[in-house]
C-alpha cells in the first residue's frame, strides 16, 4: 500500500454526509487456498507473498468510504481490479477477506434472501455492454426487475413508463434492444436500473462502449439525472477525463490496490505517486484547479475583481488576464481570504509547474 490519505484542502468543509457504503480491508484473491492464505496473514500480504503462493491478487487491501449522494469514481486501467472491486461491493463476487459495510451492516454476513431483498430494492447497476435481455422489448426490459419482485403488470408498466420518460425514450417502448443504437440501449440500461428506485447506483464503465460524442452526451445526461435524483453513485471508468468531469471523489487503482483517493483537484495538485501524476499530466488544469489552490496570502495590492474559493481557474482566467490585476478570493461572508495573481493564472495555463502546496 502506498499513500491513500485524503489531504483536506485548506478550509474546505469536512464532509458531514453519512457513509453509505464502506470497504474495510477488502481482498479478492484467486487461486486455491486463497481464503486461508489471507486469514493466516491477518489480512496483510505483499505482492511478492501472493505471487509466491501461486495466487492472483485482483483486489488488495482496499479501504474506502462512499458518502450518501456523492459520485464516487473508481478509475484504473484494464486489469487494475476496478470491476472486481465494484462486484465485491455488490457481492456479485464474494470477497476473500475483509468487510463491505452497507449503512454500517456487513454485507458479507447477510443471508441470501436478505441479499436478494437488498438488491431488489436498494441497489441498481448499469453495465458496460448494456446487458439488456434480447427477447424483451424496451418496456419489458425496464419492467423486468419489478416483475421479478412480483409486481403486477399495470403497476410495473406505469413505473417503467415513468423512467422511460425520465431518460427520454418515449415512443420506443415496443422496440427490441437490437433495434436501438448503443446510446439508446444504454438509456434503457439506465432506466432499468432506476426503475426500482435504488439508493446506491453502480455504473460499471457505462459509457465505455459508446462513441466519444455520444459518451459526452450521456455524461451530461447522467449529471442531469443526478441533480434530480441525488443517488449515491459508484462509477467505474478507465477514462480519467470522464472521472474528472463527473466525480466528487476519485479512487485510482493499480494492480488491485487503491493508490489514491481524492477530489479531482487533489489528484492533480497533489498526486500521491508518479503513476497518478502520469494520469493527471495531460489534464486541462485550469478546469480542475480552484482559486483556493492557486491563491496566495493577501499583500495589500489593488484587486480587479473577486472570486469564490471553489471557482475553477478556467471560469475567470480570461477576465483576470484582461484586467491585469489580482482577484481577491472571498469566502461566503464576503471576507477576502487570499488573492490570485494574473501571473499565477498565466503560468498555470502555460503549464509552468510551480510547487504550490494546497495547504
Amino acid at each position: 500500500m502506498t499513500e491513500a490519505t485524503e489531504p483536506q484542502a485548506a478550509g474546505a468543509p469536512k464532509d458531514a454526509r453519512p457513509i453509505k457504503l464502506a470497504c474495510r480491508n477488502v481482498w479478492k484473491l484467486f487461486g486455491s487456498g486463497a481464503a486461508n492464505f489471507i486469514r493466516e496473514r491477518d489480512g496483510k500480504a505483499s505482492m511478492a507473498d501472493i505471487a509466491a503462493a501461486g495466487l492472483v491478487g485482483a483486489v488488495r487491501a482496499v479501504d474506502l468510504e462512499i458518502r450518501q449522494g456523492e459520485i464516487f469514481i473508481i478509475m484504473g486501467l484494464s486489469g487494475s481490479g476496478k470491476s472486481t472491486l465494484v462486484r465485491c461491493m455488490s457481492r456479485l463476487v464474494e470477497p476473500t477477506h475483509g468487510k463491505v459495510e452497507f449503512e454500517g451492516n456487513d454485507l458479507l454476513k447477510i443471508s441470501d434472501a436478505a441479499l436478494i431483498e437488498l438488491r431488489r430494492h436498494r441497489m441498481g447497476m448499469v453495465f458496460q455492454n448494456f446487458a439488456l435481455l434480447p427477447h424483451l422489448n424496451v418496456l419489458d426490459n425496464i419492467a423486468f426487475p419489478l416483475s421479478i419482485q412480483g409486481q403486477d403488470r399495470p403497476t410495473r408498466e406505469a413505473r417503467a413508463r415513468e423512467v422511460i420518460e425520465l431518460v427520454g425514450l418515449r415512443g420506443r417502448e415496443h422496440f427490441y434492444p437490437r433495434e436501438l443504437s448503443g446510446g439508446q440501449q444504454q438509456r434503457v440500461g439506465i432506466a432499468r436500473s432506476l426503475a426500482t428506485k435504488p439508493e446506491i447506483w453502480f455504473l460499471d464503465e457505462p459509457f465505455s462502449a459508446l462513441d466519444p460524442l455520444i459518451r459526452r452526451e450521456m455524461q451530461d445526461e447522467l449529471m442531469r439525472l443526478q441533480t434530480m435524483l441525488h443517488k449515491t453513485i459508484v462509477f467505474i471508468t478507465h477514462d480519467f477525463d470522464e472521472a474528472i468531469r463527473l466525480a466528487d471523489r476519485v479512487a485510482i487503482m493499480k494492480d488491485g490496490e487503491v493508490i489514491q483517493i481524492g477530489t479531482p483537484e487533489q489528484l492533480v495538485v497533489n498526486p500521491a505517486t508518479d503513476y497518478v501524476a502520469e494520469f493527471t499530466r495531460d489534464v486541462d488544469r485550469a478546469k480542475v484547479i480552484s482559486a483556493r489552490s492557486l491563491m496566495r496570502a493577501l499583500d495589500g495590492s489593488e484587486h480587479g475583481g473577486t472570486v469564490s474559493p471553489e471557482a475553477k481557474i478556467a471560469s475567470f482566467s480570461a477576465s483576470i488576464v484582461a484586467s491585469g490585476k489580482p482577484f481577491a478570493v472571498v469566502n461566503g461572508t464576503g471576507k477576502p481570504i487570499g488573492e490570485v495573481t494574473p501571473q499565477a493564472v498565466i503560468e498555470l495555463l502555460a503549464g509552468i509547474d510551480r510547487p504550490r502546496a494546497s495547504t
Binding site: 462486484r87 455488490s90 456479485l92 436478494i116 431483498e117 437488498l118 438488491r119 431488489r120 430494492h121 441497489m123 441498481g124 447497476m125 453495465f127 458496460q128 455492454n129 448494456f130 446487458a131 435481455l133 434480447p134 427477447h135 424483451l136 422489448n137 423486468f144 426487475p145 421479478i148 419482485q149 417502448e173 415496443h174 422496440f175 427490441y176 434492444p177 437490437r178 433495434e179 436500473s193 426500482t196 453502480f202
Partner: protein
C-alpha cells in the same frame, strides 16, 4: 548463441519419439511376420474370450422379467400421445368398435400442404414457403402421403420429448460441473458413437416391435444435440447478463428461466434443428422395429430388390428431410436475428395471423374431407409413380455399361480392397493396442494412453477382433477416399466464391439426407458388397471434409494474408506457407468428423452385405440377441471414441502451438 542452444535442447525429444516409434513398429512387424509362432498375439485366443455378451444377455433378460411392469406402463403412457398424432396425421380416429364405429377423419392433405406453405412463408418468405409446401405436395402426388405422415407423426411426438429431456439434462450438467464431467459428457459421447442399429436391440427386447419402441429409440438417439446446445447456450450467455440477473434480485429459478434460457434461445434453436434431423434419420432406421412409415417402405423394397419403389420412398424421405431442415433452420435464424417491435395489445388473430390462418385452413379442409373424398385422401387419379422409370433407367445402365461397372468393381475388389482387408484382419491385436496406446501417450499423456489401450483391448477380449478390423478397414478406406475427394473440393471452394456458391447447397442437402438414402442408388448400380458400402459411405462422409476445409481456410485472419502479401509471398506461397498451416487444425477436425460419419454409415451398410461389426449387430437384431448386438455396438462405439480422442488430442496440440 542462445538460439542455437535452445534449438539443441528441443531436438532430442523429437528424435527420441522417432526412435520409440521405429522400435514399436519394428516390434509389431516382427509379431506380424511370426504369426505362426505367436498366434495369441495376432488373434485373441478363443478360449480366453470374456463372455461379456452372455452377461449382457442375462442382464437384459433379468430386466425384462423383473421390470415388465415398468416397460408396459411406459408403453401405455407414451402410446397415448403417439396414437393421437398417428391418428391425426395418418390414420383417422375410430371411435367405437366394429362396423358401426364412428370415424373422425385425419387432417386433410390439402390442409397440411397449405399449412406447410404458410409456415415456410412466415419463417422465411415466399421462396421458403414454396419449397416447403412443394416438398409436401411432392410427397402427396407421388403417393407416399400416408407413409410420410406416419413418419412425421413419430417425429412430432419424439422431438418435443427430446427437447424437454435434453433441456433438463443440459441444465443439470451446466449447474453441476461434476455431473457434466462424470456422467453427461461420457454418456453423450457414447450415445452419439453407438451405431443406430445397436439402439434398436434393447428397445425391441423391452418394448417389443411397435411404434412406441421406435419412438423411444429415436428419442434416445436424437437427444444429445439438445443437451449440448443447452450447455453451450447457457455457458455463452454474457457474464454481464448473469450479473444483471443477480443485481435485479432474481432467485436462482427466476434467473434460469427468465434470464439465461431466453438469452440462450438462438443456440437452443440450433439444437432443435439438429434434434429434428437426427429424429428423422432414426425414425427411418427404426422402421426395422416397427416404426412403419417411409423407412419401412424403403426396407421392404430393398429386401425385395425393387429398386424403383425404394428410390421413390427414398426421394420422399429426401423431400421430408429438406422441408423439415429448411423450415427449422429458418425459424432458428429468425430467433437469432431477434424480434421486431409491433403494436401492443392486439387480439390473438392479429398477433399470430399465420398460425390462425393455418388452423382455419386445416379445420376447413378436414371438414370438407367429410363430404369431398378428394380432400380426405390423395385421389389416385392425380398421383403418379416414377418407379418404372427408375427401373428402366437402371436396366438401361446395366445393359449398356455392365462391363465397365463390373470391371471397375472387380478391379477395386481384387487390387485394393481384398489385400487391405487381408492386412487389416491379420493385424496383431497386441500390436494395435500397443501402437494406439503409444500414440495416446504422445498426444495426451498417460490417461489418454490408458483409455485408448483399454478400449482397443475390449474389442479383442470380447472375441470380435477380426470383425473389428474388418470395420476399421472399410471405414478407414472410405474415410480416406472421402478426404481425398473432400479436402481438394474444400480447398477449391475456399479459393473461389463462385465455386463455394455451387458447393454449399449441395453439401447442405447431402447433410440432411438420412443415411438410408445413400444406399439406394449405389445398390442399383453395384449390387451388394463392399464396393457398394464403400461408395455409399464416401458419399455420406464427404461433407465434413469439404465444410471444415473451406471454413478453416476462410477463417485465417485477413491481416495475416495481407502480411504475407506485403512480405512478397506469391499466391502459391501464401497458400502453402500461411493459409494451409493455419487451417490445419480445422481441417483435421473435419477429417475426424468424416471418420465418425464413415463409421456410422459403414454399420448401416450391413444391409448391403458387409462382413464386419455392423453385420454382427444386424444379425443380432434379426435374432433379438441383445448381448451380441450390444457388445458389437460397444465395440463400434469404441472404435469411434479412440479415433475421436486421438484426433482431438492432436488438434488441441496443434491449436496450442498456433496459439
Amino acid at each position: 548463441m542462445t538460439v542455437t542452444a535452445s534449438a539443441r535442447e528441443i531436438r532430442p525429444p523429437v528424435q527420441r519419439w522417432l526412435l520409440v516409434w521405429a522400435a514399436a513398429l519394428a516390434a509389431v512387424l516382427v509379431v506380424f511376420l511370426l504369426q505362426e509362432r505367436l498366434p495369441w498375439a495376432v488373434n485373441y485366443p478363443t478360449d480366453a474370450v470374456i463372455p461379456v455378451a452372455d452377461w449382457v444377455s442375462t442382464l437384459m433378460r433379468w430386466i425384462k422379467t423383473n421390470f415388465s411392469w415398468l416397460t408396459r406402463s411406459i408403453t401405455a403412457v407414451l402410446g397415448v400421445p403417439l396414437d393421437f398424432a398417428l391418428n391425426l396425421l395418418a390414420k383417422n380416429f375410430k371411435i367405437g368398435h366394429g362396423a358401426d364405429a364412428y370415424v373422425l377423419p385425419r387432417l386433410s392433405w390439402v390442409g397440411v400442404c397449405a399449412a406447410a406453405f404458410i409456415a415456410g412463408h412466415a419463417a422465411g418468405g415466399r421462396k421458403l414457403g414454396l419449397l416447403v409446401g412443394g416438398c409436401f405436395l411432392y410427397i402427396a402426388l407421388f403417393g407416399q402421403w400416408t407413409s410420410a405422415m406416419l413418419t412425421l407423426a413419430l417425429i412430432s411426438i419424439a422431438v418435443p420429448f427430446c427437447i424437454v429431456t435434453g433441456l433438463f439434462a443440459g441444465i443439470w450438467a451446466w449447474r453441476k460441473p461434476w455431473a457434466e464431467k462424470l456422467i453427461v459428457s461420457p454418456a453423450l459421447d457414447l450415445m452419439q458413437t453407438i451405431p443406430t442399429f445397436a439402439y434398436l436391440i434393447p428397445m425391441l427386447l423391452l418394448f417389443g416391435n411397435s411404434p412406441v419402441s421406435a419412438m423411444i429409440a429415436t428419442a434416445i438417439f436424437a437427444t444429445p444435440p439438445m443437451v449440448r446446445a443447452t450447455m453451450l447456450g447457457l455457458s455463452r450467455v454474457p457474464s454481464e447478463i448473469d450479473d444483471f440477473s443477480e443485481m435485479a434480485g432474481c432467485t436462482a429459478r427466476q434467473k434460469l428461466w427468465r434470464v439465461l434460457l431466453p438469452s440462450a434461445r438462438p443456440t437452443l434453436m440450433v439444437g432443435v434443428n439438429q434434434v429434428i434431423m437426427l429424429a428423422l434419420n432414426m425414425v427411418i432406421i427404426a422402421s426395422m422395429i416397427g416404426a412403419g412409415g417411409l423407412g419401412y417402405d424403403v426396407l421392404l423394397a430393398l429386401r425385395a430388390l425393387k429398386v424403383g419403389e425404394a428410390m421413390e420412398a427414398g426421394l420422399a424421405i429426401v423431400a421430408l428431410a429438406i422441408a423439415l431442415d429448411r423450415l427449422s433452420q429458418a425459424i432458428a435464424r429468425k430467433q437469432a436475428k431477434g424480434h421486431v417491435h409491433q403494436e401492443a395489445n392486439q387480439s390473438f388473430w392479429r398477433r399470430y395471423p399465420n398460425l390462425s390462418l393455418a388452423i382455419v385452413i386445416l379445420i376447413v379442409t378436414t371438414l370438407l374431407g367429410l363430404f369431398v373424398p378428394a380432400f380426405a385422401a390423395v385421389p389416385k387419379a392425380i398421383t403418379f409413380t416414377t418407379a418404372p422409370l427408375w427401373k428402366a433407367a437402371v436396366s438401361w445402365v446395366t445393359i449398356n455399361f455392365f462391363d465397365v461397372i463390373e470391371a471397375f468393381r472387380v478391379a477395386l475388389i481384387l487390387n485394393v480392397l481384398n489385400p487391405l482387408r487381408a492386412f487389416c484382419e491379420g493385424f496383431p491385436w497386441l500390436g494395435a493396442v500397443a501402437l494406439l496406446g503409444l500414440a495416446g501417450y504422445q498426444l495426451g499423456g498417460l490417461r489418454l494412453a490408458a483409455l485408448v489401450a483399454a478400449l482397443t483391448a475390449f474389442c479383442a477380449v470380447t472375441g470380435l477382433w477380426e470383425k473389428t478390423m474388418a470395420t476399421v478397414y472399410l471405414c478407414g478406406i472410405s474415410a480416406f477416399i472421402a478426404c481425398l475427394i473432400g479436402i481438394p473440393i474444400g480447398l477449391m471452394a475456399a479459393r473461389s466464391d463462385r465455386f463455394e456458391k455451387i458447393v454449399t447447397p449441395i453439401i447442405d442437402t447431402l447433410q440432411v439426407l438420412p443415411s438410408f438414402c445413400f444406399i439406394i442408388p449405389v445398390v442399383m448400380l453395384f449390387r451388394v458388397g463392399d464396393v457398394t458400402a464403400m461408395i455409399a459411405t464416401v458419399a455420406f462422409a464427404v461433407v465434413p471434409a469439404i465444410r471444415y476445409t473451406n471454413h478453416g481456410i476462410r477463417q485465417v485472419p485477413p491481416a495475416l494474408i495481407e502480411a504475407a502479401k506485403v512480405s512478397g509471398c506469391t499466391p502459391r506461397q501464401t497458400f502453402f506457407r500461411v493459409q494451409l498451416p493455419l487451417a490445419l487444425p480445422e481441417i483435421m477436425l473435419g477429417v475426424n468428423q468424416t471418420i465418425l460419419m464413415a463409421l456410422a454409415m459403414i454399420i448401416i451398410c450391413a444391409m448391403v452385405g458387409t462382413r464386419d461389426l455392423g453385420q454382427e449387430v444386424f444379425i443380432a437384431l434379426s435374432k433379438a440377441d441383445s448381448g451380441r448386438g450390444i457388445v458389437a455396438g460397444l465395440a463400434i462405439a469404441f472404435i469411434g471414441i479412440v479415433a475421436d480422442r486421438l484426433f482431438n488430442a492432436w488438434t488441441a496440440k496443434a491449436r496450442a502451438r498456433l496459439g
